[in-house]
């Protein structure tokens, strides 16, 4: 078999360095944490900043195109001949690396302020750097096994960071839930890899995609296996339930891992395996549909949340639904574009919410906010630009990428997904402006008795304030540390979309060699009309949010209205459409039932029973043989004589036969 490698083989020290630097940072922060103290944060941010610069320096290597070989490929070690582990930096992984190190650097920087005074400051940065290393392993690996290793490691890092405040039982439970659901996905990917290896006999991306035809009908099975993994990691239905709970982690973690980078690994996986998806229309249909439904369900659930971070979590789920829908139907450029802009504006929204949470001493319930515009104008501007971007107001980054995804669904022959995408855009505008109105407009409700707002158990409503990590007034880090990253993120949040503007945009030039030309169908409406529809849906959503939360009439009786809404919240929305309960009944209960069955029946009867039978048969044999042990010497002698007689008789007869 000819060995196919994607990318131009060569020696790329910058690539190796940018990959390993975060690991070095993690080891240093972990080993010398007590000595480094506050320096650990600066060290963690510095390694990422350096990695980011190296990423920029590797730009030309990543985009080089020599005779079909796209990007830079660096062999690292040979396993069994034919199975090499190496790094691959092509335009696709370059975009991810750019976001991981760039946005990652800003979030690390922000964390120096946000985590200031936490007793496990160095441990936080060790975990964060470790996460970045794992994520880089995932996107830079040139083969499926390396990808799976990175895949597992980011899950581990996510587990560490969700459960970072492990004194809180809810954080530990959330971490465990995230890990278990992610392992379900890992196993599915492993299964897909087994099928690939059995059918193709190779695991490098280049080899597999060059010989994808050998998969035959199994390509659908492989796609489904990979997609289950993507769904678990990227919070797609029905494996999304861990993501809202993951908000138990510190806010920078939510921004980096559970918004900008890790949860988009599923999008990367599908975009990376584009050659497999393009030959399986069934897989495209399945993934596109699940993505669209996830976008819709996430948006619907986003309308019913009171915790500001849970609102953002459901919006993340919804936006990743868009991305998955995009790459699922075959609009790879659009899906990846939405990842790119989403990373900026969602990090922006999370970091902005972090400013509020930090200032309000860990209050996360929007019912207890309100009127913060005057107190925190900077946070307001930051959040507002993020919201305008996520809603897709033309000119802001989200508009270009989201409309590309929605229109892509239509162009690839999925009018239903197109419709769902437009409806979701409207709902997105509704819940996002609901959050803005509740947080920044009206009057401050933090001093109102929680029960008047309908909050029955204040300690359960949001994430409780904690003395251990709550920064003390006199111990604040300088405010600019948290403000600078947010301010810097405003730039791409607003402008990044212009890269995707126009017929021959920079973006489509950038990916022209990455993805095969897409087979589109004639569409009844143009992409410009799509934008008009989307804006109409957004305006409708905004109008409803304004009438319910922003209009003067609504502001006047805000407290009573919030109480009524809380009390009268439909059960389905209050319980997140019963997904948790359904998964609990289907899998957790059945597992427990199976466990009980095995514990009560299989274990005592088969396992214990088998062991007992062996013991009993030994005893029975012993009883039998014991009866020969009469203790009578003469009896022994008789047996001896009989034995000898038998021998003699045998040889006498056998000797005669000879």
């Amino acid at each position: 078999m000819i060995h196919h490698v994607m990318g131009v083989n060569g020696f790329y020290p910058l690539l190796m360095t940018l990959w390993l630097l975060p690991l070095a940072g993690a080891v240093l922060c972990w080993t010398f944490g007590p000595q480094l103290k506050q320096l650990a944060g600066w060290l963690g941010a510095a390694t990422l900043g350096t990695s980011f610069v190296l990423t920029l320096l590797s730009w030309s290597a990543a985009t080089q195109n020599s005779g079909g070989a796209l990007g830079a490929h660096q062999s690292l070690l040979s396993w069994i001949p034919g199975f090499d582990f190496g790094l691959l930096l092509d335009p696709l992984s370059l975009i991810w690396t750019f976001i991981i190190t760039g946005v990652g650097f800003l979030i690390h920087f922000y964390s120096i302020g946000y985590m200031h005074g936490d007793k496990a400051f160095a441990r936080f940065f060790a975990y964060m750097n470790f996460f970045v290393f794992a994520m880089l392993t995932l996107v830079l690996s040139d083969n499926f096994v390396g990808l799976l290793v990175g895949w597992g490691l980011v899950g581990l890092a996510s587990y560490f960071l969700i459960g970072f405040w492990f004194e809180r039982p809810s954080a530990v439970a959330a971490a465990r839930k995230a890990f278990v659901i992610n392992v379900v996905g890992d196993v599915a990917i492993m299964f897909a890899i087994f099928v690939i290896f059995t059918k193709v006999g190779a695991l490098g991306f280049g080899d597999v995609f060059a010989n994808a035809s050998q998969l035959g009908d199994w390509v659908f099975v492989v796609c489904v296996g990979l997609f289950i993994g993507a769904a678990a990691k990227s919070a797609q239905l029905p494996l999304h339930t861990w993501l809202p709970d993951a908000m138990e982690g510190p806010t920078p973690v939510s921004a980096l891992i559970h918004a900008a980078t890790m949860v988009t690994a599923g999008v990367y996986l599908i975009a990376r395996c584009a050659p497999l998806w393009s030959v399986s229309s069934d897989a495209q249909m399945l993934v596109g549909t699940i993505g669209a439904l996830t976008a819709l369900v996430g948006a619907i659930l986003g309308t019913a949340q009171w915790d500001i971070k849970r609102i953002l979590a459901y919006s993340t789920m919804s936006q990743i639904g868009y991305m998955i829908m995009g790459v699922g139907v075959g609009a790879f450029e659009g899906g990846v574009a939405h990842f790119f802009t989403h990373a900026f504006f969602k990090a922006q929204l999370f970091l902005g919410s972090g400013l509020i949470i930090h200032a309000l001493a860990n209050e996360q319930d929007v019912r207890r906010m309100g009127g913060l515009m005057k107190k925190m104008p900077f946070a307001f501007v930051a959040m507002l630009t993020g919201v305008l971007a996520i809603c897709g107001i033309p000119g802001f980054s989200g508009a270009f990428s989201k409309d590309a995804v929605i229109y892509g669904a239509l162009a690839h022959g999925h009018p239903w997904l197109y419709a769902i995408g437009l409806i979701t855009a409207g709902i997105t505008a509704y819940y996002m402006f609901r959050m803005i109105f509740l947080t920044f407009f009206g009057s401050y409700r933090g001093d109102v008795d929680p029960s008047e707002l309908g909050i029955r158990h204040p300690e359960l409503a949001g994430t409780p304030a904690h003395d251990e990590h709550e920064p003390h007034e006199h111990d604040h880090a300088p405010a600019w540390i948290m403000a600078v990253p947010v301010g810097l993120l405003i730039v791409p949040t607003v402008f990044a979309g212009w890269l995707m503007f126009g017929e021959h945009s920079w973006w489509s030039q950038f990916f022209s060699a990455q993805f095969a030309p897409e087979h589109t169908v004639a569409t009844p409406v143009s992409d410009v009309m799509t934008t008009v529809f989307a804006v109409a849906a957004v305006l409708a959503g905004f109008a409803i949010a304004y009438l319910r939360y922003g209009a003067p009439a609504a502001m006047e009786h805000a407290i009573e209205r919030l109480r009524t809404e809380t009390v009268r919240m439909p059960g389905a929305l209050a319980n997140a459409l019963y997904f948790d309960a359904a998964l609990d009944a289907l899998f957790v209960r059945t597992s427990q039932l199976l466990g009980t069955l095995f514990g009560r029946l299989i274990d005592p009867l088969v396992i214990d029973g088998g062991v007992r039978e062996v013991a009993l048969s030994a005893r029975w044999l012993g009883t039998l043989v014991r009866s020969f042990q009469t203790g009578l010497v003469r009896a022994y002698a008789l047996i001896l004589v009989i034995g000898v007689a038998c021998f003699v008789a045998y040889y006498a007869i056998a000797g005669g036969v000879h």
């Binding site: 043989v625 014991r626 009866s627 020969f628 042990q629 009469t630 203790g631 009578l632 010497v633 003469r634 002698a637 008789l638 004589v641």
Partner: protein, 104 residues
């Protein structure tokens, strides 16, 4: 002068009789001393056959084996008598049927 030639079959017959007398002594008697003597009888039955065949086939291996058997018999008698003495000291009894500590 040569003695009346004795046929090989006669030696084998004598040996067989001696051997089964010995077997009967071991199996039927309860006195360990008599049992030991019966075992000696069986050894010597074997010796007679060895020597008879050695003479019949003019081969010395049989003689050598007879010496070997005598040696083993001596050792056996020594050990057997030692056991008898030890048993008698502890059990005050030399009836083998009464000495049945190993009964299962």
């Amino acid at each position: 002068m040569s003695a009346l030639p004795v046929s090989l079959a006669s030696y084998i017959g004598l040996s067989a009789v001696m051997f089964f007398v010995g077997v009967a002594g071991v199996v039927l008697r309860r006195n360990p001393l008599v049992m030991l003597m019966s075992i000696e009888l069986m050894f010597n039955a074997a010796n007679i056959v060895f020597v008879a065949f050695a003479r019949a086939w003019m081969h010395n291996a049989g003689h050598i084996f007879a010496f070997l058997v005598i040696t083993v018999a001596a050792a056996e008698a020594a050990i057997g008598l030692a056991i008898v003495v030890a048993v008698f000291r502890s059990a005050k009894n030399v009836d083998v049927d009464e000495v049945a500590l190993l009964k299962g």
